[in-house]
């Protein structure tokens, strides 16, 4: 309503502009629309966080409500206690270690490999690229057992090696993604650098890499989350509870045929979103700011 008033007042001094063209009206429209949509998007997460404060007898009896009738923060210490003296502190430490190192490995390797595919011509390039894409299309489920036997032969069971070492080759998803970003960078810059005597490595480091900031930040955000959330492979390789990850621990809380502390599950599930969310918030800033300095100016 306010927007309409505003535009009619303006009519006195200016040729008539429709109210919806006015910057303030547009701003209100924009924020109104986007904020409503954002709230709908967030509802389930609010519900999850709200439920994590419900006492055990409320979780199933007062299911629809977001807010608990009687807040029960005890779910958090109950869940945090973990299993038989191994608390979530251990699981968080393991998950942070794995997700951080895993992300650094996968993203940096992916950038290097992507540059090779995107900007160097070599024999067999198309073939290897096609094979790389094919590896994405076979479900892990049917590779697990042969892979388990390979890692057993290497003596790496119950360590992080089977989870981390395959990442030295990057991930096909990120490689392909970064290739697409590199391909939308004009080659003029490469060539200018080449004329200045830069090697391929030099071009990669000084010309391409700085322009890849948005792509690399995006890859890092995904990689952290996907690593954090991964459970099938860690389940197979990590035996000692001291090595369990948060994702595994969350699945270890419940037994469909036994007694389950749902409050603790909700609490730890809600808490486990925090690191991923923090990573996103921190990095998405670069997604905006990083550009203004690296954007191409003709």
């Amino acid at each position: 309503m306010a927007a309409v008033d505003f535009s009619t007042r303006k009519q006195v001094t200016r040729p008539p502009t429709p109210w919806y063209r006015h910057p303030l009206a547009r701003s209100i429209l924009y924020h109104g629309l986007v904020a409503t949509a954002a709230l709908i998007m967030l509802y389930p997460i609010l519900w999850l966080v709200g439920s994590s404060f419900k006492p055990p007898d409320e979780i199933w009896t007062n299911q629809t409500a977001i807010l608990p009738i009687e807040p029960y923060p005890q779910n958090y210490p109950n869940g945090w206690a973990g299993f038989g003296g191994i608390s979530f502190a251990t699981f968080y430490r393991n998950s942070l270690f794995y997700a951080t190192l895993g992300t650094i490995l996968s993203v940096s390797a992916s950038a290097v490999v992507a540059y090779g595919f995107a900007r160097v011509r070599f024999r067999g390039r198309r073939l290897w690229f096609a094979i790389m894409l094919l590896t994405l299309m076979l479900p892990t489920q049917v590779q697990i057992i042969p892979q388990y036997i390979v890692f057993k032969q290497l003596g790496w069971l119950n360590t992080f090696y089977p989870l981390l070492l395959p990442r030295i080759g990057g991930s096909a998803f990120f490689i392909f993604m970064i290739i697409q970003f590199i391909r939308s960078i004009p080659v003029d810059l490469d060539e200018a650098a080449m004329i200045d005597g830069a090697s391929k490595v030099g071009i990669f480091l000084r010309v391409i890499l700085p322009q890849l900031t948005p792509a690399i930040i995006t890859a890092a955000i995904f990689s952290f989350y996907w690593t954090w959330d991964e459970f099938l492979v860690p389940l197979i390789y990590l035996n000692s509870p001291e090595l369990y990850l948060v994702s595994l621990a969350l699945r270890t809380f419940s037994d469909p045929s036994g007694q389950t502390d749902w409050g603790a599950i909700f609490a730890m599930s809600a808490l486990s979103l925090l690191p991923v969310f923090v990573i996103f918030i921190t990095f998405q800033r670069y997604l905006v700011e990083g550009i203004s300095t690296t954007g191409l100016k003709g």
Binding site: Y43, V142, P146, Q211, F277, K297
Partner: protein
């Protein structure tokens, strides 16, 4: 179009990119190493197993030729249902996800105050992932007296029991997928950031309005990213697993029995790894074929700033 002339100029200079096998293999070396060390053997073994009746528990299997394939195409009723569910999911969830992702990315690609917060809000659903709490949450929302039916009730509509009806259950998973459009959205956002500003400036001088700018600059400049998102969403659409695994378990009446879930069931609940491998390889071939088609088509609609590239 400015971009087109740029491309031509480059084509001329292409010769300056000599072939360099050593450097090329050095750069892709890490991937090759990981591939040969960790990926190749499991892949080949699974291919070999698909022609056997290998059972995980007995850790043995006999060569049975094409029997697994014969069984899945002609004898296994549930296989047909899993194909059905997966196709339905791919046909609806993939475009929905892409459209939402691009639309919201466009909406959030501005300098307005609070955009960071919105971005976080729209991305948030994509990080709730695969925990059991998510399953409970989703059932709650689509439950008989859940949020969806409550809202419909306000509009005077009596909603069905979404997850319980064979006609509607899969839609809840499609909506779940559409709701989690965060990753393609972020990739689109990153892509939008990479579009040189001067292109917009010159278009504005030419008097192009917002819609024309979108059609003439944003869309063509974004095609490599659209192409990427399309391919990846297609692949992950066919391989969809987690949603059904944690929320519906394939019920009711196998209407949400996604292909990858069925593969997992055969492989780990019934230990029929030979049969599961055969199913997985059929899927690989189907996805590969579709991907190849999309790649073929890309020369008609994907615009690159450089012609260099593996495909």
């Amino acid at each position: 179009m400015a971009a087109a002339t740029l491309t031509k100029a480059k084509r001329r200079k292409r010769s300056s990119f000599g072939q360099d096998n050593l450097v090329g293999y050095l750069f892709i070396g890490p991937w090759l190493a990981a591939f040969f060390l960790f990926t190749l053997i499991p892949i080949l073994v699974s291919l070999a197993l698909s022609f056997t009746d290998y059972n995980v528990l007995s850790n043995s299997g006999d060569f049975i030729g094409l029997d697994n394939f014969q069984r899945m195409f002609f004898e296994d009723r549930r296989y047909a249902r899993s194909v059905n569910a997966t196709l339905k999911y791919v046909v609806f969830a993939v475009p929905l996800r892409l459209v939402f992702a691009l639309g919201v990315a466009m909406l959030l690609n501005t300098w307005r105050r609070g955009v960071g917060v919105y971005r976080a809000a729209f991305y948030a659903p994509s990080i709730v992932g695969g925990s059991i709490a998510v399953a409970v949450m989703w059932r709650e929302i689509f439950g008989n007296d859940g949020l969806v039916n409550f809202t419909l009730n306000l509009l005077g509509i009596e909603g069905p029991n979404w997850l319980g009806r064979p006609e509607t259950a899969i839609w809840t998973l499609i909506i779940l997928a559409a709701w989690q459009f965060g990753s393609p959205m972020l990739i689109f956002l990153a892509g939008l950031k990479n579009i040189p500003k001067h292109l917009y400036e010159s278009a504005e001088i030419d008097g192009a309005n917002a819609f024309q700018r979108f059609l003439r600059i944003t869309l063509p400049m974004l095609t490599p990213i659209i192409f990427f998102n399309l391919i990846m969403q297609l692949i992950s659409g066919f391989m969809v697993f987690t949603q059904a695994f944690i929320v519906t378990q394939g019920k009711p009446l196998d209407t949400t029995l996604f292909y990858a879930l069925y593969v997992y069931r055969r492989a780990f609940e019934l230990n029929e790894m030979g049969y599961a491998s055969a199913m997985a390889w059929v899927m690989l071939m189907v996805i590969a074929l579709l991907t190849a088609l999309v790649f073929r088509s890309s020369s008609y609609w994907v615009h690159y700033e450089s012609d260099e590239g593996p495909a």
